[in-house]
Structure formats: structure tokens, C-alpha cells
Subunit: 367 residues, 2 copies
């Protein structure tokens, strides 16, 4: 399936929503993707079902603190340089790429490199949303190896990582991203088509485009973008529940760049909603409380959006005074089984609570 | 020249002295070297003059905080794994290895890998002493590239670094060493025989052995080991002045492992000397003051030694109450020119003083 240029803003919108506050602000990646589109033969998206079992697929994306990505621009060669090195390491050509996570920047980034390399992007991703750490990818949860992995940076530095310990791989990659200025590009979890079919979250890119398209059309028709968003998200099947949890104004924000992450807490005071909602984040929004009561938690999606435009406000763009709606959606089923929750559930982030699905926490709320 | 097993303790002694408090404690490396000697055909040392101009030489050594190396043991494969990967990257076999620095552990380490690989060690090194940071190597001072470089760790993780910025290479390697538990092995600055002849500090390994032998013989003859040490060091030609600066007891020690280094300050109260000597270190001893008066500074060598045995006490082994002599020696001439001083002089370490040679600071003192 050919991706039209007009679909890129839809993809940016949908990927930013699915990124749960992370995966990077889509702005620069959208500009880069549009420029790459112009100078290439276009972008090709293939269904996971149509990938050959013996194909070599390369997940990729940016690693580091998204706060840094706002100010430190890429050189534009990072992804291709990393993918080409992976080909050398694997001794064969890459047949297709895919986003390691579906997030604002990382959902778009693979198209830029893929177009230059003349390969398609596979309609899937490794997280079904964005997560702050590499070992939270479904590929790790299902036992695949992150290595060989290639980290590249705007300065031109290239590092190859090889270890059979995916947690160590994350630690090394994180240290590299910090040493390289806070953000770097990473190619990781190279896998076969058969492995991708058995593990990846299918359809996440086309889902993101569909979400973006629905909201764009609702805006054009003067409709409520949040109603359109919730309906579109629920219609995908991948994210079967979607709720506006809260409507208010940001009245407090703590955020720091620490250990290669953007970590903090944001408090929203109710305008149309009563009380306050507090959300903690590590690159991505992790847990939301309404006046101390849990309302949503990882791996379910929590996204803070501009009340008027319904644009996603990624964690690095949060500011005091913004009028926002907090939207939550049920994570893909693959992230909710007991094994997956041990990697991406609230306890994996240090919270002393077991996972409770967002639809159970909010039985009465409808968007 | 064949290195006899009996020469290994001499090398360990001399390299520890030349390491200026850094380069790692020789204890584990000596045990590993003796074991490697037993299971190999012996150790071969070749003169720099005898190396072919088109030979491929690989400098290597441990990077990280020596405080960590005391507790975190190597797996013994780090160096060979790194050197083998360098061969893959360069597309040819390594003809010989050399220590990136002549220090207690790093002066011995190359023999272990070289014996297993069946290649000789070249009688030279990249620093003429030990320095805390990779870009302080004479190879960087003379404009060679650190990359491709390979970092390996006890856990089996392997990372390749490629960048044309040697300062960035150091930052990346340091970040890796921290992520890998505080210490890692690094192969760096691969160079030709011709390049080594033009840049490396020649004869440092045989010099270390000669120093160790002289002190061992003095001890056996009930002579003063410090007199033998100073005479042997000055006799080498490489280090034309050697002085005992101070004789006392350690009465204060500040030391922390920070940013991949062991940094701190030690104060020695005079026993046979009046007043106090204070020495600041970053892995290696950097500057020595006697009651506030400068007595020695980088790149000149400052080594703290046990007053009785004349064994070097590396910075990570310093303890309150130790009876010590502080010995200083003139650095090799290659480290004292204006260009070299901009990389390894006191200002490169943040001191607001220009380099003054130890023999000018201590015209009256004789060991």
C-alpha cells in the first residue's frame, strides 16, 4: 500500500496519540518525512501478513530523552547509517523496516530511512504504543535478542552493541544516548518475517493513520474531535476502549532530564471535571490519579491532548496553563497478559499496584 | 626478546610505578599473566624498531574506575574478544599489540591476550605513564584516530565505536564503562608500525622491567629500594629525573567513584619530612603540594609507595595510616612539548597553572 503525502499528517497525529505522551514530538519528523517523500519514489507500507517469513526486518527509532530532541536536531543520516551497518553485520540486505514503537516521532521516522533505502515499512510496531525503555518491546517480552544493534548520532558517531542480555543492551544504549548528547538513533531487535508475525503488534501504522484521518475529518466538519478520536480508536480493534478521563488546566509541572529520560509529574486542575488529575511520566505517561484514585496505568495508553485542537501534547511539550483533556485507551491485548505485564505493567515501573484495565477503573465514564 | 616468567613481577612492579598511581593495581593482572604464561608458548616482546612499517598494531587496556577493578573480576576473554573484532573490522590480522598506557594492570594485560593470539607485544606504549582519559594518549596528541575501537566487558557485551572525534570517543567509552559496571576493556587507536614508530613512547615495557629488577635486587641485597628505584629510573633515559619528594603517613583521604573515574585527594603528614603533602588524583596522581607549595604536576609522574617495601600504592588502594614515600619522576620528553601539554598538562585537568618540570620545582632534593 502506497502512503500518500496527505496521509503523513494523519500518521503523525495518530502516532502521537498512540505514543502516550512519548515517542517524541512529531513536528520535526513530519517535516523530514515530507521532505523525504518529495525526493523519493514515495512511501510503501506492507501488511505484516505479506512479509516473507525469511525476510530480514529492522526495527528502529530514536532513543533518549524527548526533551532533548526538541533542541538537538538530527543530521538526517542517522537511521540510514545504522541500517546500512546492520546489513554489514548480518551479511545481507534489509528487506523492510518498522518502528520499534508507534509514537509521534518514532512512528514516522522509519519511512524516511526506508524511502532512501528503497524498502517498505511493515505495518506493525514493537510496542503498540511508546515505552521509555528498549527492553519493554514485545520482541524482548517474547524472547528475541536486541542485538546486533547499532546506535548512531547527529555528530556521526556510530556504535555497535552486541550482548545476549537485553536489559544490558538497554543500559548500554541509554548510556550511549546520554554520552551522545541526550538523543540517538537505534536499530535493534533485527528479526525475520516469521518472528515479526509471531510477535509484533500488527496494523499499528494503518491504525494511526485511520485515527488521524477521523479526527481531521471531524475537525473539517466542525465536529467534536474527541468524539471522533474515541470512536476511531475503538473501531480499530487494537485499542478496544477509549475514554476522556479528565478536562482541565495544567497547574503544576515537575520535569527533569535524568539518566537519559525525561521524568516528572503533571497536575491538571479540573475545569469541566471536578478535582485534580495527577499524571506521572518517564518519557511516556505512566499512571493517572484523580484526587488520589487510580484512573489509568501502564501499559494502557494515557495521552494528554490540547482541549481545543485535540493535538497530543508530548511530555516534553507540557507547560503550565495549557488547557488539556486526558485521554486513556486500552492497550493491545498482547501487552496485557501476565508475562507482558511483568515487563510493562505498573510494577515494572516501580509502582506497588497490580495492573487494572482502564475500562475496569472507569466503568461509568463515556467520552 | 622472550619475556621470562620471572620477569613478570618485575614488569608489574615497574609498570605500577610508571602508572603514577593509575593503570590499575597489578595484582590480578599478574596472576592472570602468570596463568597465561603457563598455558602458552611464552611471551614475546619486540622492539618498536623491529616492527614492519605496514604491520597492524592494536593498543589496548582497561578503561574505567580502578576502584571498581579491585572488586569486579574480568572474565579473561575481554581483550581477545575485542582484538578479534578489531581484526574483523580492519579486514586483516593484528600483527602485534601494545599497552595503551604503561600502568600496573595495563602494562601486563596485553601479554595475556597476545600470548593467546600468538602475536608479540611491542616494547612501547601510548602514554609513557598512565592517564585517566583515552584522548590523553600520544596517538591523539599526534593526530591519529581512536577508531574503530572495541569495548568489551566481563558480562560478554561487546561494543564497537566509530567516530572521527577522539574526545567523543573517550566520552562514549567512559559512558560504556559506567554502564558495564564501572570497568571495561578497550582496543583503540589501531595503527601501523610506521605510525607507532613516529608516535609511541618507545621502550616503556623494557624500562618497567629494568626498574622492577633493580629494586628486586636491591631488596635482596638489603639495600635501599628507593635509591635503587631512583637510579634505575634515571638510568632509563626515558625518565631523566627521579626524586623522593616526601616521607610520611596518610592522615586524610577523600576518594569517590564519579563519572567513571576514581577521584579524590590524599594528605600525607610528614614523618621524616616536615609539614604535609597533599596530592589530588583522577585515577592517576595529578598534582602534589608541600604545605601549599607546588612540588610536582602532570604530566610528570607522581607515585605513592609503601615506605618499607617500595611497592606502589595505586590510588584505589590508598588507606588512612599507610606509611608512604611520594616519588616523582620527569615525564618522557614527548609529553612535555607545548602541544602535548595542551592535552596532558595541568591546564588540561583544570588547574590554573602552567607546567613546571619537577626538576625545576625541586632543584635541591635528591633521593
Amino acid at each position: 500500500m502506497r502512503i500518500e503525502r496527505s496521509a503523513l499528517p494523519d500518521l503523525a497525529f495518530g502516532a502521537a496519540f498512540l505514543g502516550s505522551g512519548g515517542g517524541g514530538d512529531p513536528y520535526y519528523s513530519l517535516l523530514l518525512a515530507e521532505a523525504a517523500f518529495e525526493r523519493s519514489d514515495g512511501f510503501e507500507l506492507v501488511s505484516l501478513d505479506d512479509v516473507a517469513d525469511d525476510a530480514l526486518l529492522a526495527p528502529c527509532g530514536w532513543v533518549g530523552a524527548p526533551t532533548v530532541s526538541v533542541e538537538k536536531l538530527p543530521n538526517g543520516r542517522e537511521a540510514v547509517d545504522g541500517l546500512r551497518r546492520l546489513e554489514t553485520l548480518m551479511g545481507r540486505r534489509i528487506d523492510a523496516v518498522l518502528p520499534i514503537e508507534i509514537g509521534g516521532s518514532n512512528g514516522l521516522a522509519p519511512f524516511i530511512a526506508a524511502a532512501e533505502m528503497g524498502v517498505p515499512v511493515v505495518d506493525c510496531d514493537g510496542m503498540g504504543r511508546a515505552f521509555p525503555e528498549s527492553q519493554m518491546a514485545i520482541f524482548n517480552i517474547r524472547g528475541l535478542s536486541a542485538c546486533p544493534s547499532v546506535v548512531t548520532a547527529a555528530c556521526g558517531a556510530l556504535s555497535v552493541i552486541e550482548t545476549d542480555d537485553n536489559n544490558k543492551h538497554e543500559r548500554i544504549a541509554r548510556a550511549l544516548s546520554v554520552a551522545l548528547g541526550g538523543i540517538a538513533h537505534m536499530v535493534e531487535y533485527p528479526l525475520s518475517g516469521a518472528q515479526a508475525k509471531a510477535t509484533a503488534i500488527p496494523g499499528s501504522i494503518s491504525t494511526a493513520i485511520a485515527i488521524g484521518k477521523a479526527v481531521r475529518e471531524a475537525r473539517a466538519a466542525q465536529g467534536d474531535p474527541f468524539e471522533a478520536l474515541a470512536a476511531a480508536v475503538e473501531a480499530t480493534g487494537l485499542y478496544p476502549h477509549c475514554r476522556v478521563l479528565f478536562d482541565g488546566k495544567i497547574v503544576d509541572l515537575e520535569r527533569e532530564t535524568r539518566g537519559g529520560f525525561s521524568v516528572g509529574k503533571v497536575t491538571v486542575e479540573g475545569l469541566k471535571s471536578p478535582g485534580h488529575m495527577t499524571i506521572e511520566f518517564q518519557n511516556e505517561n505512566l499512571v493517572a490519579w484523580h484526587d488520589g484514585v487510580l484512573r489509568a496505568m501502564v501499559p494502557d495508553l494515557i495521552t494528554i491532548m490540547d482541549s481545543e485542537t485535540a493535538d497530543t501534547i508530548t511530555t516534553e511539550r507540557l507547560k503550565y496553563g495549557q488547557r488539556v483533556k486526558v485521554v486513556a485507551a486500552a492497550a493491545p491485548a498482547q501487552l496485557r497478559d501476565a508475562v507482558a505485564l511483568s515487563f510493562v505493567g505498573p510494577e515494572a515501573f516501580g509502582y506497588e499496584t497490580s495492573f487494572i484495565p482502564v475500562e475496569h477503573l472507569n466503568p461509568e465514564t463515556r467520552s
